[in-house]
């Protein structure tokens, strides 16, 4: 159990975090003044008066676009570590440049695929 001692600070941090969270909420509940009125209790909608129910149906097309966005976004993340080591590896050989071409070509196939399948057409 010796090496578990290293985790005690983490445990303390978690404990303090939980403590502060609960204590602040409890204190405001018990000590704060309660003078509710209709305006105060209404749903907060960035200062605009809320219209209708928040639980509306959302078209499934939004999900498709969201998923596609996420896909290309996450694939874009791969560029960053590549760019960081690019200069170092380029001095060895040019394979690192080709590798990115392969990667982009694969991305492109995916892009053309969704384009042709009509996934980006709204109607």
């Amino acid at each position: 159990m010796e090496h578990m001692q290293a985790y005690i600070p983490v445990l303390i941090l978690m404990g303090v975090g939980a403590l502060i969270g609960t204590v602040v909420i409890l204190l405001t509940t018990f000590l704060g003044p309660h003078r509710p009125n209709k305006k105060k209790m209404s749903v907060y909608e960035c200062g605009v008066p809320p219209i209708g129910d928040a639980r509306r149906r959302v078209s499934v097309k939004f999900y498709l676009v969201a998923i596609l966005f996420l896909l290309f976004d996450v694939e874009g993340v791969f560029f960053f570590p590549w760019a960081v080591v690019y200069k170092k590896y380029l001095s060895i050989n040019g394979f690192i440049l080709m590798e990115m071409f392969f990667f982009v070509a694969i991305l492109l196939v995916g892009y053309i695929y969704i384009l042709r399948k009509g996934a980006l057409e709204w109607d």
Partner: protein, 497 residues
């Protein structure tokens, strides 16, 4: 081997990937052609790619063991053996998807791509020795499986299968990741080879080993659907389109067994002369014997009461996985080689059974067991072939299933785990019961059947060819199994574990 040459060892996987991309691209490019011609083109591209990949895997088999990609990917004869099985099973499932009436013609390219990418993930699972790479492979397989299960869009039962496998898969991924963390904690490395050295040289408390082993084994057990985690698998197999069902019950199990072997032997055992010693008295086989015994008993007993053909095979595959784990529990060279042999026989036979069942269910429009009635009189070839596959599944001589069963039981007997051998032998008998009852239906003449005679299925030369390809090893390995067994023993001896 850090240079570019190591890529050549990786060629089968690369080819699989290229095939997947090419299949998708062909689908895009050939939009304006007639749908039958387009289907031929797409199927041709994917089958050709898979065949090339199979040949490449055959070529790399003789190259011995190498670690590539900064020691994160171990290519040895055993992993290549698994890859051959996986790619072979990929070819058969792609052909099955091609024949399937459940999948619309304009969606074939997508299911091929998913099957090929799933196979790629599984190939990576058999070779990965870096735990993070392994997790990535595990997830690739999972993602392909989720979509495959829910592929019949608009079918409630298929969506149900998709949701079930997704929830199941998400949970097991978490357990798997947690197991990896535990293993990293006690092994101080992400590389399986280093973890092994570390575990062998330091005295780690058994409870820590149990946690790490248990979590990872649970994730693998869920993938191969053995006892405590088998509940959802028959539903998934029933609901998914038939090619996906056969993919789940064959390829998925092969990959999971491949990594289970690596986990048990490669990490948690110390190499001895004849037998692998267990690490610091860590008795992992106890867990596996328990899982094996319960899962074959429950799988077989439940299969007796099934009326849905795909569901029945689903339960029988739970039982078959139990038989295989029996061999793994023995944990010596004989046990492992019996597992590899049985896995081959199981894979070929189950692929064949699913192939015929898909033809029958597609023709009949439902999956009730009664549609088998009189199959042999309607379509003699398919009927006889199905009977041979079922007999091999049950393990009757002179078919290859029998040899596999004999090897597994022999390994268990030699290790003097008699109770397990008795449970196994009793289960073989139970397994025979439902296989024979299906065969009885195939041979039944029922002229006064009220729904009339079913029309014969139209002969399909490709289907006949595929069945012949699957039938050949079933018959041959039953009488002449030496080459395969020798090959397996040799590759086990040559690996550097």
């Amino acid at each position: 081997m850090n240079d570019l040459r190591s890529v050549f060892r990786f060629a089968p996987e690369l080819m699989l990937f290229v095939t997947a991309i090419l299949t998708l691209s062909t689908d895009i490019v050939s939009r304006h052609q007639k749908s039958s011609q387009r289907l031929k083109l797409i199927t041709g591209v994917s089958i050709l790619g898979l065949l090339i990949s199979l040949l490449l895997a055959l070529r790399t088999i003789a190259m011995g063991s190498t670690e590539v990609f900064e020691r994160s990917y171990l290519i040895d004869p055993v992993s290549q053996f698994f890859k051959l099985l996986l790619i072979f099973s990929g070819i058969i499932t792609v052909l099955q998807a091609c024949m399937s009436k459940e999948i619309r013609k304009n969606e074939k390219a997508e299911i091929y791509t998913l099957l090929i990418l799933g196979t790629l993930g599984m190939c990576a699972m058999t070779s990965a020795v870096h735990l993070l790479l392994l997790f990535l492979a595990y997830e690739t397989v999972g993602l392909a499986c989720y979509v495959l299960a829910a592929f019949k869009r608009g079918s409630a039962i298929s969506s149900e299968a998709g949701i079930k496998i997704f929830v199941h898969g998400a949970l097991t991924s978490v357990l798997f990741a947690f197991g990896i963390v535990m293993l990293y904690g006690i092994g101080k490395s992400f590389n399986i080879l280093d973890i092994r050295t570390q575990l062998a040289s330091t005295l780690v408390p058994t409870s820590y080993l149990w946690v790490a082993f248990g979590l990872i084994f649970v994730a693998l057990a869920a993938r191969m659907a053995v006892f405590p985690f088998h509940f959802l698998m028959p539903d998934v197999v029933e609901g998914s389109p038939s090619p996906a069902s056969s993919f789940f019950s064959v390829s998925s199990n092969i990959a999971a067994i491949a990594f289970a072997i690596r986990l048990c032997i490669h990490i948690f055992s110390v190499k001895g002369d004849l037998k692998w010693a267990h690490l610091n008295g860590f008795q992992w086989p106890e867990l596996i014997t328990g899982v094996a015994a319960t899962s074959m008993t429950i799988g077989n007993l439940t299969a007796l009461y099934q009326n849905n053909l795909k569901r029945l095979i689903g339960y029988s595959s739970i039982a078959q996985m139990g038989y295989l784990l029996m061999g793994l529990a023995v944990s010596n060279r004989m046990g492992i080689s019996s597992v590899l042999f049985s896995l081959t026989t199981y894979g070929v036979v189950t692929l064949g059974t699913f192939f015929v069942i898909q033809m029958v269910t597609d023709a009949a429009g439902n999956e009730d067991i009664s549609i088998l009635k009189g199959l042999v009189w309607r379509n003699p070839y398919e009927g006889v072939v199905l009977c041979i596959f079922l007999l091999s599944l049950a393990g009757l001589p002179p078919l290859m299933g029998f040899i596999g069963h004999v090897y597994v039981l022999g390994a268990v007997m030699k290790e003097k785990i008699y109770w397990l051998a008795i449970v196994g032998a009793m289960n073989y008998v139970v397994g025979l019961t439902y296989c024979l009852s299906m065969i009885r239906r195939v041979f039944a003449t029922n002229p006064t059947n009220q729904d009339g005679e079913r029309a014969a299925m139209s002969a399909n030369p490709i289907a006949h060819g595929v069945l012949a390809v699957l039938l050949f090893p079933t018959l041959l390995l039953g009488v002449y199994w030496d080459p395969l067994m020798n090959y397996i023993t040799h590759s086990l001896e040559s690996v550097m574990w």
